[in-house]
Assembly symmetry: C2
Homo-oligomer: 650 residues x 2
């Protein structure tokens, strides 16, 4: 007797690079479509037909069908020039195949076109959205009765909301203190060292360094201490969201006589470029976003973080938020979030400073599934290594993933390692009360643990977006039902991609590219491999960058029928010194050039669970190595054109 | 010989309430699917198979298929509890049927899963997105070589971006003046009265009242006056987006010694609730959003707007933006944008005040198709009335639509009157140079009229979102190809919905609901009908509101198998005094109560082009009137429960 294995199931989860599961896929599409058609036919059949057989014999009807058919043919032909994400030959950006469940789920619900702004126009899919958010929250270890989450269009909006909420919570104590003064009521709040203090007598610096939990407790308390309408009005008179930044800035000086430096947001050097959009849009300002250097594994450097926090404390610069990344865009690096949490605790004790801790796990969040047994129990690194049969992950990796539960907010994109179609991002917050800070007309504070009410299901009041596809929720929901968020489901898929990435990393070693050689970043935390190709004749950084740009140009969608697809990025000093200086030493190239021009790095995002190969499967690892060697040979032969600007993409 | 008519084509554009076009739909779905399957099969067939026949005989494979099939059955069963937007019985929210082209286009592209963040992962659909934006821009009368636009997740994000860009442009002159001072270069700018002046010598008030065009010209000029890097650094040192609101606010005082009141945004009382989210998130502040009352037709009151502008000028309060609505959420009212444009011109002349003019045409934007002949010529009101055969629109309506071309930005949601699946919103800006104000690392300024470059196709750098579905672009593109943006395409659909709405409006007259009667808002500008049901026994506002809530409760998805679906809203004083006071007079109810509790209004959004009926078609106008009468009777019989809070939804 043989037990069913996840690796067997894996073959049923995707349409397949040769559309091997086409029959199954077509059957499910037709089933979903016909089911919907019969729903329509059975809805008040007494209404009769609106479109009749005779209508179909009109010239206008015929013309319209002809036009539709022809234009569709045109679209289908055009789409042939799209990028073959489904193929083992595509190891480029963070986009890959989608699960069958996700595609069918999307299609089935799209026929109904529910709008998840409110249950009134999406009674089914709004429930599915909240269910999906609960599943993701449980996966990362949030307490389900305290946490809250929802889906949105993607990581940028999810991260935007996280920082928007963070700003609201961080500045709330100021409004609480001024409102309590106006109302003439005392208001106790827990100070950073755990003592109850009256919020009205605190300095601005102390107010901006209260813990989120303590702040939300005080918010709750104030509502209980005075009539609802009075509290709302008193808070509105002093809240950033109501009076706006300009008057708020003036208010701080008037009320506290203490013009502290403007608040900052700390992000690692690896943070996605969208963080800059976010701080600009929110009015925090790009220059108030401070970049913390990374270490040799492209993880946030905890010592550098601590130095920055110390500097902020010394200058009394409020730290609105610290962003940590779980699965960086360029390298798939997983920050040691446990060390960031430790820094937060230490800062509270030693510096009297605290902040909102956000984990941008848009890419890596689903990797938490690797650490979960089917019933939800957390697995040790040893158990995980045993289950997947290769030397990954390290115990510190598991500790870092476990620390997600300590972050105040976490963003995870189902449309990345959840393998669902665009658009699907998720925002998760540890304390659901915090969402009141961005909500419209919050009907008072939702108590922790309160079940879904009608307000609960008017999702649009709690989030930035309004109308949004219920189909996305159905898509994520169905794929989670079929592929669970544990080691046998998503954990299995992701472990396979990491194994593939490690195999490719190993295949670049030694003489694989001779006469070229590859300088690799350390073996990755997840499934993204970074390397640089060099050649004995290449001795300066300009040529090195040009060589790697030349390779990329031959292995990108812009090339003429590329055999394989990879991507490239350009990393910069000083943020990446920790990762790059060890490589430069090996290359013998000039550090000054690095500081001026940065370094072009080749990159493969291995989202393909089949890249690892196996018996009777294509060996795309070997194929990609061969293609790299060929591209490098060609690039060198046609001459290297230096280029100093490369935009970070996607 | 009979010429093909749009009304004949209309029957081919939708699946139909009884899925009358099911065969066609199924054929096109299968064609798209199989086409994609063969694309996969023909992609490097030498790679062989990844999933083999033998794999399909494994227990794990079987289990996975069984699980997928069962869970899908569960989802399909659940979806049966969704709302039948496709039916003539649904005249509720702004959601209706989708066109076949839109659904097939979405599905076909979704199989490829392109990501319209950049052409590198969406070579086909990024082009379609830019094409679609150009079509919409042309429809509203923007000059194609100057304008720019893109798709996003929906109206809230599109409006957010419009105001984000507006903020950037409005505050740019301050940065320009300070940067020019730092660089020691003169910088000429066109003043509001048309004279060239040196920007460095201007007062803060004057700087905040430069026209957008003049500002962008000066931006361009400064880049030409000094080396690129220096200009960027000098601007970054003084720009809100880089230094943030807190330091910016302090900077204004330091540099100009002139702490003007914080900037405001003027919106009509009818503005969608998301505007409040937007001003909160951007840091402008909810209290800096000033509501301008509306007139008896729920259009922005031009006199009230003028008074507000005068007040702002007197107090030297900068007006960041004026928002006008084309198709209000509650009433489908179309603001007399031509009068708002006139107010802008007059304010520049008489008050030395100007602003960014935005039209929120998320709902009504597609109605501009009514005013276009197939070759694009603008039609007169008379021509339009002739084409559609009923008494609509008035000449002023056409003038208001024509004025869209004068707005600095316009937002239009294809997922509303474009009849495409969620998510699809569009932002259009009149002067493409303005997008540099929110872009990341703008590669200098794109000159007006420049064709699409590589940067152009990295859409993610110009917008708030990052990853987003290329499928949405394919969906909008295909439907625009099949159903043109003119009187024979979308214009025909929308004219039919207006005719249906007018028919229903007329059907509510007189004794239709006896013993109840309906008090109607004026005949609508578009396809949304608002009315109040009353009864001789109902003499106070509490009971009146309760009666209408009771009717709604019986004709909403929350009811047990409602015969028809409508919605309701609660409008408030003083913003709606212009529309409500004439009704209250007829009702004889207490004005004080209105001022305290607002008025519950029933609402039908007629997006259904078949609602108007015709030979051998169901008469849903009559059906809805009957259902209303029955619901009112039941509501009165079971007693009226007063309720004072009704959230504005969707």
């Amino acid at each position: 007797m043989t037990a069913a294995t996840p690796d067997e199931a894996l073959r049923a989860w995707f349409l397949g690079p040769r559309a091997e599961n086409a029959e199954l896929f077509e059957r499910l599409i037709l089933e979903s479509l016909r089911d919907h058609i019969f729903w329509r036919r059975n809805h008040h059949p007494e209404d009769g037909f609106t479109i009749h057989e005779a209508d179909r014999r009109r010239a206008g009807y015929d013309d319209a069908i002809a036009r539709l058919t022809e234009e569709l043919q045109g679209l289908l032909a055009a789409l042939k020039r799209d990028v073959p994400f489904f193929s083992g030959r595509y190891q480029g950006h963070m986009v890959g195949e989608q699960t069958i469940a996700a595609q069918i789920g999307y299609f089935a619900a799209m026929l109904y076109n529910p709008n998840n702004v409110t249950e009134e126009v999406s009674p089914v899919t709004t429930r599915l959205e909240l269910e999906v958010a609960t599943q993701l929250a449980a996966m990362i270890g949030y307490a389900p009765e305290r946490a809250w989450g929802h889906l949105c269009s993607g990581g940028t909006i999810a991260n935007f909301e996280a920082l928007w909420i963070a700003r609201g919570v961080r500045y709330l104590p100021v409004a609480l203190a001024l409102a309590a003064r106006d109302l003439g009521v005392p208001l106790a709040v827990r100070s950073l060292d755990g003592r109850p203090i009256d919020i009205r007598s605190q300095s601005l610096w102390a107010l901006l360094n209260l813990e989120p939990d303590a702040t939300l407790d005080a918010y709750h308390l104030l509502h209980e201490s005075a009539p609802g309408g009075d509290v709302v009005a008193a808070l509105d008179a002093h809240s950033l969201s109501t009076i706006g930044y300009q008057d708020y800035t003036r208010r701080l000086v008037a009320a506290f006589g203490d013009p502290l430096p403007a608040g900052v947001v700390l992000v690692p050097a690896t943070a996605h470029y969208s963080w800059e959009k976010i701080v600009r849009a929110l009015g925090i300002g790009a220059q108030r976003m401070i970049t913390v250097p990374v270490d040799g594994s492209c993880r946030i450097d905890p010592d550098a973080l601590w130095q920055e926090l110390t500097r902020c404390a010394t200058q009394h610069t409020p730290v609105l938020a610290v962003v940590s990344v779980c699965g960086t865009t360029e390298e798939g690096a997983i920050d040691r979030l446990d060390l960031v949490v430790a820094a937060r605790d230490r800062a509270a004790r030693e510096l009297g400073l605290t902040f909102h801790l956000h984990s941008d796990a848009c890419y890596g969040g689903y990797a938490a599934a690797v650490t979960r047994a089917p019933a939800g129990r957390r697995l040790s690194a040893e158990e995980i290594r045993g289950a997947h049969g290769f030397d990954w992950p390290a115990p510190e990796w598991v500790t870092a993933i476990e620390a997600l539960a300590q972050a105040d907010s976490v963003t995870i994109d189902p449309h990345k390692l959840g393998y669902v179609p665009y658009p699907a991002g998720a925002l998760l917050i540890r304390d659901r009360r915090a969402r009141a800070l961005v909500s419209l007309d919050p009907p008072y504070l939702t108590p922790p643990g309160a079940g879904p009410s009608q307000d609960e299901r008017f999702i649009g009041r709690w989030i930035l977006e309004g109308s949004k596809p219920g189909a996305a929720a159905a898509s994520v929901w169905l794929t989670h039902r079929v592929i669970p968020l544990d080691e046998r489901g998503y954990g299995h898929i992701i472990a396979r991609t990491v194994r593939g990435a490690h195999r490719f990393h190993a295949a670049l070693e030694g003489n694989a590219l001779a006469p070229f050689s590859a300088l690799r970043f350390p073996r990755p935390d997840l499934n993204i491999v970074n390397w640089i190709v060099t050649h004995p004749s290449v001795t300066d950084l300009d040529s090195l960058n040009a060589l790697n740009e030349g390779i990329y140009a031959r292995l990108s969608p812009a090339a003429d029928d590329p055999a394989y697809f990879i991507t490239r990025t350009r990393i910069r000093s000083p943020a990446y010194d920790g990762a790059v200086l060890p490589l430069l030493a090996k290359l013998g190239v000039n550090e000054a050039m690095w500081r001026r021009d940065g370094l072009v790095v080749l990159r493969a995002v291995v989202m393909d669970p089949f890249f690892d190969g196996g018996p009777r499967m294509p060996d795309h690892v070997a194929g990609l190595v061969t293609a790299l060697q060929a591209a490098a040979t060609e690039a060198l032969a046609t001459g290297l054109q230096p280029s100093r600007a490369t935009t970070r993409l996607v």
